[in-house]
Every structure is written in structure tokens, then in C-alpha cells.
Symmetry: C2
Subunit: 217 residues, 2 copies
């Protein structure tokens, strides 16, 4: 327990954000390996699964300490638990949702979130017709209650599913409420001040990264 | 015109997929710069906007030829047009959608797709209650018509918005229909054979890459 605590509070300096963004992929692959009963995995095998070079995987993991022994590979269970801790996933997270139109409703009913420890606990909408409705067990609140509700529950993660024209304004308000991580579904290049993290869910970027391979068709 | 054609058919060998995946980000940033009236941009400025090193940006672009002159920066307009051509975005693309539940309907009504040249032209669902309904001007077809419809329209891109339990089966069927690029919204590690490209829209991965920064909260 003492050791665990020490590791949790271990300060890991200056990890490039792209490396952090790859860790969830490693974690997911390790979970799959673990479910298949695999106990030890090499960086070659991980690389094959993830279409990455073994050197890149070893380098990424080396930021966080030594997880494997030369030529022995990684213990799947140990690496998996370490990654969960590094990523802050040994706990559950409350998530606020802004926008309960079609997309917001789909997000609330998305079955993949809760098993991973992300729980949408509050939902907000600017449309008075939505306010007061219950969606997936959550009562939609007015945007007037955003600050009060987010602060009262100490929610630090929010999902933005509002139309593009309102997204930046909503994101600014969330930042004012001390939200520190925002997942934005609106197709805009949103801005947040440095301590806040932002990820954009963007089908167009994904599609554009595939048409490259279709040009000859 | 002749020069344009020659460039279009130019074979660019062995570009790493991660590089291709970054090109749409470059393109988007250039579009924004262009809209602000910026005519020339340095790799430093691009790097600042994209939180990447200038060296990485220069290296990525160098796969596709020489776009800038030493110390002069890139012509925004020229680089933008070249990237559109490289990515196959100088044309419009038809897209098929499988799954018209809440998420599928949100995707159909997503305003960001059409302006970028991606048009959902057909929608399919396994639920007989959905079949025949009109969503965003598209009549939902039965899965029995998938092959016939996709092949008749020569659609090579599909979006999968079905429940996780059915996603791989749907993806397999799309591959059989000669679909070559699949955007999967279901939270599963889907598999496709090598010539086919797959991108997963995954809110959990995005959330997990942010909790790293929230651990101390």
C-alpha cells in the first residue's frame, strides 16, 4: 500500500502529450491480451497489434520506468495495472454533458463509457424544451445551473455536444467552472487555456485520413 | 492542367500511416490561416498552432515533395491545394451509413460533413421498424439491400453506428461489398483485412488520454 501510494504520487516530468495519447491504446491492447489469458508480451507482439515499431513502444513506456526485463517481455498484468495508475484510471470519474440533442442523447446511452469508469452525472441544455426531461436517468438542467452544478459536484470532465456555433462559448463557460478536460464533438477548432485539456471527436479528420488510400479508386 | 494531372497520378511510396493521419490536421490549420488572410506560414508557426515541433512538420511534408523555400516558409494557398490533392479531397465522396439509431441519426444531421465533401447517400438498419423511414432526406434500407445498393453506387466509404455486438459482423459485410474505408463508432477493436482502412471514433480513448493530467485533482 505504501509502495502503491509512493508510485501514485511519483512525479513524471515532461512526457510529450503524443506519448500520453498513445497510453490508452497500450492499455486497451493489454486488456485484450489479459482476457485471452496471455501473461507475458514482448514489445514486438505489442507493436504488431498496434502497427507500431517495438522501439517506439519501448521508448514510450520508458518515460514511466522499467516495466520489462531485457528479452523477457512485459508482464501483462503488471503493465496493465501500472498504466491504469499512470493514466488516473484506478478511480471513477464524473462527467458533465452539455447538449442533449440527438448526439448528446446517443452519448448518454453509449454503453462503452461506464465500464471504463466514466459516468455522465449531469446534463445541460440551452433549449427550454429539453430542460427538465429525463434522459438515461439524468434530468436535463438549464445552462443557468451549469456553474452551480459543476462546482457543487466537483466535476472536472465535460463532453460538449452542442451545435458548432455555440461550442466555443460553452467551452469557455466550462473552463470558468474549473472543468479541466473537455471532449468536444462540435466540428470547430476550439481553444482552451493551457492547464485545460481538449480532445476533438471529429469524423471528418478520420475520413480525410482514409481518402488518401482511396485516391486511385 | 497537364501539370496538375501529372501531380495527381504521382506515386508517393511508403508514407507512414501516422504521417497520413496528420495531414488533415495540417490542412485544417492552413484553411484557418487562409481564412484569416495569411499568405505565408513558417513551420514554426504551424508547429505552434499544432503543438508539434517544426522539424516534425517539415519531415512529414517532405514525403510529398518540396513545398517551401529555406527561410521563406510555405505559401498557404499552394500547400493547402497540394494537401487537398494528396488526400484525395479535390473530389466529393459518397458515404454509406449502417445503423440509424440515435447515433446514426446524429451523424446524418451532422453539419460538418457535407462542406468537406463527404455525403451520406445511403443508410441501412437491421431493425424493420427503421426500414423505410426517411432520415435527413435518406430512406433507410434493409440490411438485405446492403450489397446491392453499395455496389450499385460504387460507394467505398462507410460509417458504422451499430451496437458493439454487431459491429464486426457489419464491418465484415461492408468489406465484402468492396468498401475500402470504414469509420467505426462502436467501442470494439474491429478488424479489417490489409487493403481496407479503419478508423475508430472512441470517446473513451480520448477521455483516458486526458485523465492523466487530472490525477492530482
Amino acid at each position: 500500500m505504501a509502495r502503491e501510494k509512493a508510485e501514485r504520487s511519483r512525479v513524471i516530468p515532461e512526457v510529450p502529450e503524443v506519448v500520453v495519447m498513445r497510453l490508452p491504446l497500450y492499455l486497451r491492447t493489454l486488456v485484450q491480451l489479459s482476457q485471452r489469458g496471455v501473461e507475458v508480451v514482448s514489445s514486438q507482439q505489442l507493436g504488431q497489434q498496434l502497427q507500431m515499431t517495438p522501439a517506439q513502444i519501448r521508448k514510450d513506456l520508458s518515460y514511466f520506468g522499467r516495466f520489462g526485463r531485457q528479452g523477457r517481455g512485459y508482464s501483462v498484468k503488471y503493465l496493465l495495472e501500472e498504466l491504469r495508475q499512470i493514466l488516473g484510471l484506478e478511480r471513477e470519474w464524473d462527467v458533465g454533458l452539455v447538449g442533449v440533442g440527438r448526439l448528446g442523447r446517443a452519448i448518454i446511452s453509449y454503453a462503452g463509457m461506464a465500464p471504463e469508469g466514466f459516468h455522465i452525472v449531469a446534463a445541460f441544455d440551452a433549449d427550454p424544451r429539453q430542460v427538465g426531461q429525463t434522459v438515461g436517468g439524468i434530468t436535463v438542467q438549464s445552462m443557468d445551473h451549469l456553474q452551480e452544478s459543476i462546482k457543487a459536484t466537483d466535476t472536472r470532465i465535460a463532453i460538449v455536444a452542442v451545435p458548432a456555433a455555440h461550442a466555443q462559448e460553452v467551452i469557455d463557460r466550462l473552463v470558468e467552472c474549473d472543468v479541466r478536460a473537455i471532449l468536444n464533438y462540435a466540428p470547430i477548432p476550439a481553444l482552451v487555456p493551457p492547464p485545460v485539456k481538449l480532445r476533438n471527436i471529429d469524423p471528418v479528420l478520420a475520413l480525410q485520413s482514409m481518402t488518401y488510400y482511396l485516391r486511385s479508386l
